[in-house]
Symmetry: C2
Subunit: 364 residues, 2 copies
């Protein structure tokens, strides 16, 4: 399919909010044993449950390497479409396309950002990442969508949230990191975001969740419930290093207006208690030079903000924490009319992300 050399905004395209209607959801099957314990079998079981939950609301497509195809197709429910899609790991939010829409024509196209495994040779999480960097294009091919290739501009889908009405939320920790686009100024980065996403204003948060290995992706700490209203991962424990990060973002957000001039409203979404990698969990991961190790006792970047908004539903990570129920209640209020479904997500968290990181919506 066609590779476009223009930019989406100039062609009349904008990035919809995740809460707008989808034709479906993309996922990638986990398999690398140097990131997922026990040959990725527990993670695969968790991904199956996420796919099953989302497919109650909208069609799901699972991209799978040729080697794992038979296994995936046997484990997944019948109504999940399974396609070959080679990859370096399973974070389709970050390596997949960001879909943009032209409201006048209804056309949807994909943005194929340059992907460098969350930091490239500076502080990327593995090497190589060549397969991941082709995922966006391959998804656009399957869907017969033209794609925009952002020559050299590095971005992951998990580092941005759009309100669909001109506002983009992101973090300085990620987008200004030396591992992304160190040759560009903050203003030049804003220009790229405007040109590609059809937005008018960037609301810059400071940092992401404490120890988040994505260099502070916004999608683990803050997301948009609807234009003008955001959810923010929150702890009341002032001794937790997370407190200062969340507090700083909280105050920044309250002092912000969005592209339409609304004062931003912040809904606090409590965090689970800190979660650490167990000895047994650590032992199950292949130790390989050049891949981020998974060591016993390491704190994981657990957050309920990392959920997926489906048509008519939310699919939310559960950690077996007392706040699981609180999160469901807060989210139910923030998204009236959507059914909240939880999926046990510890095995996804162990790989370095959560439900939002392993999904990518395709707008209707």
């Amino acid at each position: 399919m066609k590779r476009l050399e223009t930019v989406p905004a100039a062609d009349g395209f904008r990035m919809p909010g995740e809460f707008e209607a989808h034709v479906g959801c993309w996922m990638l099957w986990p398999e690398r044993p140097d990131n997922w314990r026990l040959g990725a079998k527990p993670a695969q079981a968790a991904f199956v449950e996420v796919a099953r939950a989302i497919s109650r609301f909208e069609p799901v497509t699972m991209g799978v390497s040729a080697a794992q195809y038979d296994n995936a197709v046997n484990l997944l429910p019948d109504d999940v479409r399974v396609v070959e899609l080679s990859n370096n790991d399973s974070w389709v939010r970050d390596c997949g396309p960001t879909f943009v829409k032209n409201d006048a024509t209804g056309e949807v196209r994909g943005i194929d950002w340059t992907f460098n495994a969350w930091g490239g040779l500076y502080d990327g999480l593995y090497f190589p990442w060549d397969r991941d960097d082709e995922v966006a294009r391959k998804i656009c091919e399957i869907e017969r969508r033209p794609s925009y290739r952002t020559d050299g501009f590095v971005l992951e889908g998990g580092s941005i949230h759009s309100d669909g009405e001109g506002t983009l939320y992101t973090t300085e920790e990620c987008l200004l990191s030396p591992g992304r686009n160190p040759e560009l100024t903050r203003e030049e980065i804003e220009g790229k975001l405007r040109d590609h996403l059809g937005i008018e204003k960037v609301v810059w948060l400071k940092g992401g969740i404490y120890l988040d290995e994505t260099t502070g992706h916004v999608d683990n700490i803050c997301c948009v419930a609807r234009p003008g209203v955001v959810l923010l991962a929150w702890t009341d424990d002032e001794d937790d290093p997370q407190y200062a990060i969340s507090k700083e973002n909280h105050d920044l957000l309250l002092a912000s207006t969005d592209a339409r001039g609304r004062k931003v409203e912040v809904v606090k979404l409590p965090l689970p208690k800190p979660i650490h990698i167990s000895a047994e969990e650590s032992k199950g991961v292949d130790a390989v030079d050049g891949t981020l190790p998974r060591l016993e006792g390491d704190r994981l970047a657990a957050s309920y903000v990392n959920f997926y908004i489906a048509n008519g539903g939310l699919v939310v990570p559960a950690f077996g924490d007392a706040n699981d129920a609180v999160a469901v209640e807060v989210l139910g209020r923030a998204f009236p009319g959507r059914e909240v479904v939880t999926v046990p997500a510890r095995e996804i968290l162990l790989g370095g992300g959560n439900i939002h990181c392993i999904t990518q919506q395709q707008p209707a």
Copy 2:
């Protein structure tokens, strides 16, 4: 997507004629160096021209291994969709799904025949063929079509032609070969064809093109122009071993009636002069134990019958033979209203088949 345990005919499905309307055409990218000379580069160029020709009439999807994806996407025209699809070789007519249609609902499903590389351990052309045997299912997944898996029943799409009105044309040489379903009688095989293809009558030709390595596929010697009218590969040279084969089929066909009771009309389509593998062509192929060798002087199974019927067009192999023009003329008369396009096909022929063998229509 769903795997069905019923059979298509019982569910109200029939195999349309190739001349009925398509939503598009599937192909697979050639790459194995033990079948295609010079690392398959000349064959790839020929496949590109076939894809380009067909895409003038209907959408084309090219399935490509992960290893060849970048190369294929760079060589193919923009309007060809390129998807990852691992395979053992590029004969999607034979390993791909046979699509069947329910005229009452408009629904299209795929039949996923068991594939054994044209003869399995008896006289198959290569080993293994596991990737090929999954191609049909993977195509159905991409297209979100339920598929019927014919547990153990071996068939290639190139060994059958449907008139869409209850008649199936095939050859005894292929379907009764010990390399296919030796445990089944001719009557049991007819039963499988009826159950799966919704046909009422099988017209059995004897043999295929002389030395055809597919064990005499019908799609290289005879095809349906429209219900009641078939094209038959023909030579007037009585010294050519092909003469007796074509003559026997000719007389059989003339003595046949189809499922609707019509006397079958036969249009002779002349063959090109015999074509042989050159020393240079033979040298370019990796010699590998267990794969059919490509030896200097071997006669190739060239035939104009091995063309593709697209929406509003025909894509026909050209051999640089005096009969190229005759074939175009005969085909133009047999398919009024369709544009006849030729593509130089020697490089496809060198791999053991032709344009019909490397294409698979998906009905509208």
